[in-house]
């Protein structure tokens, strides 16, 4: 997908993986279809946007916000891989933040799900509002939002490899034979 357009949700710094999927629901496995469905419904359930807007409308099964613009250190805390799965399942396609927590970042690329993570040079949250329309340009690696066109930082070779291979399992199948 070259261009992806959606409403944006603006989130503060240090959104942790307990915020994304509360510990109670860590019992659910994202590899189980029913578990994954429930994880999507629980995503950011008690963590509204920076303006206090709920991530999902009452009784909705998907979020209206396919793009999350967040402050630094998104995904910190627990290593639960349920977090990126829940975000993808709830309908998020891309998260842009000045930095991500390392385990969350790796989990997202390794899992092979369609959630894209991109870093921006600066924190964009102060100049944007939840509900604005944003467009993520995959090929040009930039995001157009609130009248700005913001270039995103390039991925490392390893991240590009994992994105191209659609996850670590496909890489492992080719390279980790025994």
């Amino acid at each position: 997908m070259a261009l992806y357009t959606s409403q944006i949700a603006v989130y503060p710094a240090n959104v942790n993986t307990d915020d994304v999927v509360e510990a109670e629901f860590m019992k659910l496995s994202a590899k189980d279809p029913e578990g994954l469905r429930q994880l999507g419904l629980k995503c950011l359930e008690r963590k509204p946007t920076i303006e206090g807007v709920p991530f999902m409308k009452k009784s909705a099964t998907k979020t209206d916000y396919g793009i999350i613009i967040a402050g630094p250190n998104f995904g910190c805390g627990s290593s639960r891989e349920q977090a990126p799965y829940a975000l993808a399942e709830s309908g998020v396609y891309v998260i842009v933040a000045p930095s991500f927590a390392p385990i969350f970042w790796r989990n997202t690329f390794e899992s092979g799900i369609h959630l894209k993570l991109r870093t921006s040079e600066n924190d964009l949250t102060s100049r944007l509002k939840t509900g604005q329309t944003g467009t993520f340009d995959y090929d040009e690696n930039k995001i157009l939002v609130g009248g700005f066109s913001i270039a995103l930082l390039p991925l490392s070779n390893l991240d590009k490899t994992l994105e191209r291979e659609e996850g670590l399992l496909n890489y492992a199948e080719k390279h980790f034979s025994f």
């Binding site: 019992k27 910190c76 805390g77 989990n107 490392s156």
Partner: protein, 449 residues
């Protein structure tokens, strides 16, 4: 070539290329993999998926895999119980003998967990000889870095990476930079491993470790016990370090030789080792530290905090080890606690220690009981395991069912981490926890004689 640090010498020995460089992606040899009940089900699914893609039935080396029940144990919740069964089925199917799981059909019952159940993975593994210097480990848990305290390069990962490494003993790994964090000076008696890592978090912040592995060095660490070293390394993940490690010395090596489940050869940094960044702390006059709500890097000296505390929680991979209860019991010995207290041993081994280790002829258990520290748990210890450190199902022992101010020896104080979203969690050492339990306010242990 410049001298190699401990991290890179360990990585060099675990990749075909021999000499690693920061920023490059390597195929890392993973000596052992650990998964537990709440990340394990997905890791098992990933491993099975990969085996299917490879056209294989069996994982490469079942003797290198460790399966542990610890997170959601004492709950009636059927989904949580199913996760333990998934691990048990996988152990049977693959012939994995290092399996420390609740027995089938235990129903969440403390008395029916069975003889194979031990408790919290990061305490179980060093206790039973799975944490060994010079080796590499992937663990599907962010606190896998705990093992760095004994010289192991242990990396916390998600379920996919854990599934791949448990099936193949390989990982795709981007080589981080290395930061030396040196602790100089004589370690004061009131300072524990917890204070040292809270100092690191205060000074470097929760993002200070981005892109780095931490190597802890310095003469102050020679005074640190085995448990203290595990605690120091346990929370390096809270600073976003990929992991952390320190050199094993005579404090730990003889004991590790005795316990070892696998062969090992310690790795030592070259005497002229270089680092990408060096941070030096003098800890000889360090105050006891506390992380205030709601972030592990929101750190202040205990003596500067005036907050009434409702509950003290002593437990977890961070603060539920032998030394943690010894120091807590020593402090409350002969006194009465003023708060609700939860005493939560990390493992059955730690529980046994509390019941048998003595101070002045009385067991730690008796000292704790007589101080009133067991009154909120009906005169008994809480059952060994992770319990309310991470909240979990609502019937978990110690779950914060209403908003309270809690001093906890655990590792995270995010909103809602132990249950109630409005709960205020203060992270501290067991000594601060004991002083606080005795006064009812956040208290520096030096203020209570």
């Amino acid at each position: 070539m410049a001298g190699r640090n401990l991290t890179y010498k360990t990585l060099d020995k675990h990749c075909a290329k021999g000499i690693v460089e920061p920023g490059e992606a390597i195929d890392l040899v993973v000596d052992q993999t650990m998964i537990h009940d709440v990340t394990g089900a997905a890791a098992v699914a990933s491993a099975r998926e990969l085996l299917q893609q490879m056209g294989k039935d069996r994982i490469r080396a079942p003797e290198t895999v460790i399966l542990i029940s610890d997170h959601y144990v004492y709950t009636k919740d059927p989904v949580s119980q199913r996760n333990h069964e998934i691990l048990a089925e996988f152990a049977g199917e693959q012939g994995i003998k290092h399996a420390f799981l609740v027995q089938p059909g235990y129903g969440g019952d403390r008395d029916k967990v069975g003889p194979s159940y031990v408790g919290v993975c990061h305490q179980l593994m060093p206790e039973l000889g799975y944490v060994l210097p010079g080796r590499t480990m992937f663990g599907a848990d962010s606190h896998t870095c705990t093992a760095g305290g004994l010289g192991m390069l242990a990396i916390g990962v998600g379920s996919t990476a854990a599934g791949v490494s448990l099936a193949t003993n390989k990982a795709l790994f981007e080589v981080p930079k290395v930061m030396e964090i040196r602790f100089n000076g004589k370690l004061p008696d009131h300072i524990m491993g917890k204070d040292l890592i809270l100092l690191v978090l205060q000074q470097l912040t929760r993002e200070g470790g981005n892109g780095y592995i931490a190597e802890f060095t310095g003469d102050a660490l020679t005074d640190l016990s085995m448990d203290g070293r595990l605690t120091l390394n346990n929370m390096s993940t809270e600073g976003n370090f990929v992991t952390s490690i320190m050199t094993p010395d005579s404090t730990v090596l003889p004991e590790l030789q005795r316990r070892a489940k696998f062969g090992f050869r310690p790795v030592y940094a070259d005497s002229d080792a270089t680092y990408h960044q060096e941070v030096v702390f003098d800890v000889s006059s360090l105050d006891s530290l506390v992380a205030m709500p709601h972030s592990p890097d929101n750190v202040k000296p205990a003596k500067d905090i005036v907050t009434k505390i409702d509950r003290v929680y002593v437990g977890s991979c961070t603060g539920g080890k032998r030394e943690d209860f010894y120091r807590f019991a020593e402090k409350v010995n002969g006194k009465r606690v003023q708060t609700e207290v939860f005493i939560v041993p990390a493992t059955k081994g730690v529980e046994h220690y509390i019941r048998t280790e003595k101070i002045g002829g009385r067991t730690l258990f008796e000292i704790l009981r007589d101080s009133g520290a067991l009154e909120s748990t009906n005169g008994e210890l809480a059952p060994a395991g992770c319990n309310a450190c991470l909240g979990g199902p609502k019937d978990t022992p110690g779950y914060l069912s209403k908003p309270m101010n809690v001093v906890s020896t655990t590792n995270r104080n995010f909103e809602g981490r132990m249950g109630a979203k409005e709960g205020q969690i203060y992270l501290a050492s067991p000594l601060v926890a004991a002083a606080t339990a005795l006064t009812g306010y956040v208290t520096d242990p030096r203020e209570v004689k």
